[in-house]
């Protein structure tokens, strides 16, 4: 009986210790975030579910910035964009569309180089064995998977395609749904849940390297024109010197062995400063769809 009590006491002490540690971490995180840590928001424009990759990237950035880096992940693009606008984040890797929509407030930090160019495409995909579907028009009355309402490649591009064909995206498909990530668009189409889907071409190609069994169950119906690759942007009030520091750390990645490894993992060639004009294509699409 006495032993049990002692044990319980030990247990109690241990719990308190863990709790304190936890509190410490939370507060230190907030303190770091508030003063010295770089708060980095991630969206599913990349395969953001590789825990070990993120840890290594975090270490790389911390080493080069000599500051702690904390990654933030949310379910939607909208949440990350909102956090950025609310200055709860310092930088974020977002889609070109939110950047274009909020370009007055956001600072362009860097644009990834994919296959040597800061550009990517939107893929229209269908089930690999679903014959008789060769274009988006064949998907009429079918179930269609979008990635995110704020995604260019996963939402805006197919809508523009339909509009250009004179179809109303709201009624063209029997049902549409959002998977909130490009990877899940591929899963949704591969499983047969949706007969078609719109996906970031870069994500599809990267997934094709990592999980070919998934992508092989899908078939690319259409590759869109090239758009500016989802950029990294900074909060409106991020000081220029900080922005440049972070930018240089990113631009240095393809000159550092560790950085090259990380870029290989990302299936990217590097980062460039980027030009706002890269996103003119998205601007045009937005204008075409919304009229402003």
């Amino acid at each position: 009986m006495a032993k049990v009590v002692v044990k319980n006491k030990k247990c109690c002490r241990f719990s308190i210790l863990v709790f304190l540690l936890f509190l410490n971490l939370v507060f230190s995180g907030q303190l770091l975030g508030g003063e010295s840590a770089v708060r980095f928001g991630l969206t599913p424009v990349i395969l953001d579910n590789q825990r070990d990759f993120l840890e290594r990237w975090q270490k790389f950035l911390e080493k080069h910035l000599e500051r702690p880096v904390i990654f933030f992940q949310r379910r939607t693009y909208g949440e990350i964009t909102e956090m950025l606008l609310q200055e709860q984040l310092d930088i974020a890797w977002v889609c070109g569309r939110p950047y274009v929509q909020h370009q007055q407030k956001l600072q362009l930090l860097a644009v990834p180089l994919y296959r040597g160019k800061p550009l990517y495409q939107s893929y229209l995909i269908a089930l690999s064995d679903n014959t008789g579907i060769d274009s988006i028009l064949d998907l009429k009355g079918k179930v269609f998977a979008y990635s995110d309402p704020d995604s260019n490649s996963g939402h805006l591009v197919p809508n523009v395609m339909l509009r250009r064909e004179g179809k109303d995206p709201k009624t063209f498909f029997a049902k549409t749904f959002f998977t909130w990530s490009h990877r899940d668009v591929v899963s949704a189409v591969a499983s047969g849940l949706a007969q078609g889907g719109a996906v970031d071409g870069y994500v599809w190609e990267t997934l094709n390297l990592v999980h070919p069994e998934l992508t092989q169950r899908t078939r690319i119906l259409n590759r869109s024109q090239e758009f500016g690759f989802p950029p990294l942007v900074a909060r409106p009030s991020l000081p220029k010197n900080e922005l440049l520091l972070i930018q240089s750390a990113l631009l240095q990645m393809n000159k550092d062995p560790n950085g090259i490894q990380l870029l290989q993992k990302l299936n990217l060639d590097g980062f460039v400063e980027g030009d706002d004009a890269l996103f003119d294509g998205i601007r045009e699409s937005l204008l075409f769809v919304t009229g402003y």
């Binding site: 179930v143 959002f178 499983s191 849940l193 007969q195």
Partner: protein, 478 residues
């Protein structure tokens, strides 16, 4: 069939049948119970799964979030069963597929009735039942069990979750249990069967022993019957006691009979001796008389001749009596032929005419048979003379001689002279027992002796006013 089987096997067999039947019934009951338990478990499991999922699914339905619903169903399906044995389908208010963990078979927006007839009937039953409780629908062709789990918010139905369990998921578990139960039952039966057989055999043993002993009664003398049964108060014990008493009674009775037989034999010998003495005494008296007469009138003319004649006649009579008694001394003769039998008929002519008898004569001997003609002729002659003597005036005497299937010679002689009384029947074949007028009373005795010597049988049928003698002699006896 079974009725003719010995209790030696019948009781153990019955025991075995009861044991096997019990084993089968217990197995069936256990299997049924298992099936019910499995069904209940699966239903309970389905209700739990449904309850766990319905909260999130309710939100998904409300927000039209197909992807979230799919992920939940797919993950749950995968966690529960890797072989796809668990089907999870969410139907919206219009009973169209909202999401499922098998989207290829159950595509989004598909109506159940478009999938296959089984689901079409399911659709109807879903529509008919409108309360908000989970319930099982058992036994489909594709799936073994469905559980319909309504998804509702504050009583308003948003859709239903259909949980289906494939046969592939259920049957192996069921078969495994059936196998285990069967093996256990078989094991128990294997232990019980020899035990039952042993007990049954033990139970049947006294009965079989008793039966065997009873079967010996009549075959061997009661004294020689070995009897190992123990007395007891049960039915077989009582039977056994009664049987023992019966054996004792039988033994006493047989002893008594033997005594009677001995005294009867003595009486018969006495009667026979008296008969022989009488038959010899009569001519002896005559001869002594003749000798006396000769002594007194020896010189008279013709007396010696007459005396000698009387002596010769007396001695002849004695010789006739003695030679009749010496049946064995009859010499060998030729095989019996048709003509031998016909000769007898000729010899009987005088007697037939005297009484004006209608003689029905059937002589069916086609070929000679290997029996001594002299003896058979004597048998036939004796029987016929007896019959003619017993027959009243103008009655019918029937006589038949035939060889039956080349194996037996059959002689039948029948007369209508009225039945013999019991006393006559008892002494029928004894010598000198009859008060007949014509003979010396040795005819039937001689006949009997000859038949016995030839290894045959003689049977008398004495009823309905006729007396019939049947003699059967085997042709194959040496």
């Amino acid at each position: 069939m079974f009725r003719n089987v010995s209790y030696h096997y019948k009781i153990p067999l019955s025991f075995s049948v009861v044991i096997i039947l019990t084993g089968m019934i217990v197995t069936t009951a256990l299997v049924w119970q298992t099936y019910e338990n499995l069904r209940r478990d699966i239903f309970r499991n389905a209700v739990e799964v449904g309850a766990a999922l319905s909260g999130t699914l309710q939100l998904s339905l409300k927000h039209d979030d197909v992807w979230r619903a799919y992920r939940l169903l797919a993950d749950t399906g995968q966690a529960a069963d890797r072989d796809g044995g668990l089907l999870l389908v969410v139907l919206d208010e219009e009973y169209k597929v909202f999401a499922s963990n098998q989207p290829r078979q159950f595509p989004v927006l598909a109506s159940l009735e478009n999938l296959n007839p089984e689901f079409a009937s399911l659709n109807k039953s879903l529509l008919q039942n409108n309360n908000n409780e989970a319930r099982p629908i058992v036994q489909g062709a594709t799936l073994w069990m469905y559980v319909v789990h309504p998804i509702h918010e504050y009583g308003a139905r948003l859709g239903v979750l259909l949980i289906g369990y494939a046969h592939s998921q259920f049957l192996p578990r069921y078969y495994e249990i059936v196998w285990n139960v069967s093996i256990s039952s078989l094991g128990v039966m294997l232990i019980l069967l020899p035990l039952g057989w042993y007990l049954g055999k033990n139970m049947a043993e006294p009965l079989v022993e008793l039966s065997n002993c009873m079967a010996m009664v009549g075959q061997i003398p009661p004294d020689e019957i070995e009897y190992n049964l123990k007395d007891a108060d049960d039915e077989i014990g009582l039977l056994s006691t009664r049987f023992r008493e019966m054996l004792e009674d039988l033994r006493i009775k047989q002893q008594f009979e033997r005594q009677v037989l001995v005294s009867e034999r003595l009486a018969a010998i006495g009667r026979m001796s008296a008969g022989v003495a009488h038959e010899i005494n009569n001519p002896l008296g005559g001869m002594l008389n003749a000798i006396n007469t000769f002594k007194q009138h020896r010189h008279e003319e013709g007396v010696p001749e007459k005396t000698l004649y009387l002596l010769e006649r007396g001695l002849g009579q004695i010789q006739e009596t003695v030679s009749a008694l010496l049946v064995e001394s009859i010499p060998e003769s030729h095989p019996l032929s048709f003509q031998d039998v016909e000769d007898i008929r000729t010899l009987l002519h005088a007697d037939i005419n005297k009484k004006n008898i209608n003689l029905v004569w059937e002589n069916n001997l086609a070929t000679p048979v290997s029996l001594p003609s002299t003896q058979i002729r004597q048998i036939l002659m004796n029987l016929c003379l007896n019959a003619l003597q017993a027959a009243p005036q103008e009655s019918t005497v029937f006589c038949k001689v035939c060889a039956v299937e080349d194996e037996n010679l059959l002689i039948t002689v029948r007369n209508e002279g009225g039945n013999l009384d019991d006393e006559s029947m008892e002494l029928l074949f004894e010598p000198f027992a009859h008060n007949n007028t014509g003979g010396i009373g040795l005819g039937l005795w001689v006949t009997y002796q000859i038949v016995r010597q030839l290894g045959g049988e003689i049977v008398v049928n004495n009823q309905d006013g006729t007396v019939s003698f049947s003699v059967g002699i085997s042709l194959n006896n040496p």
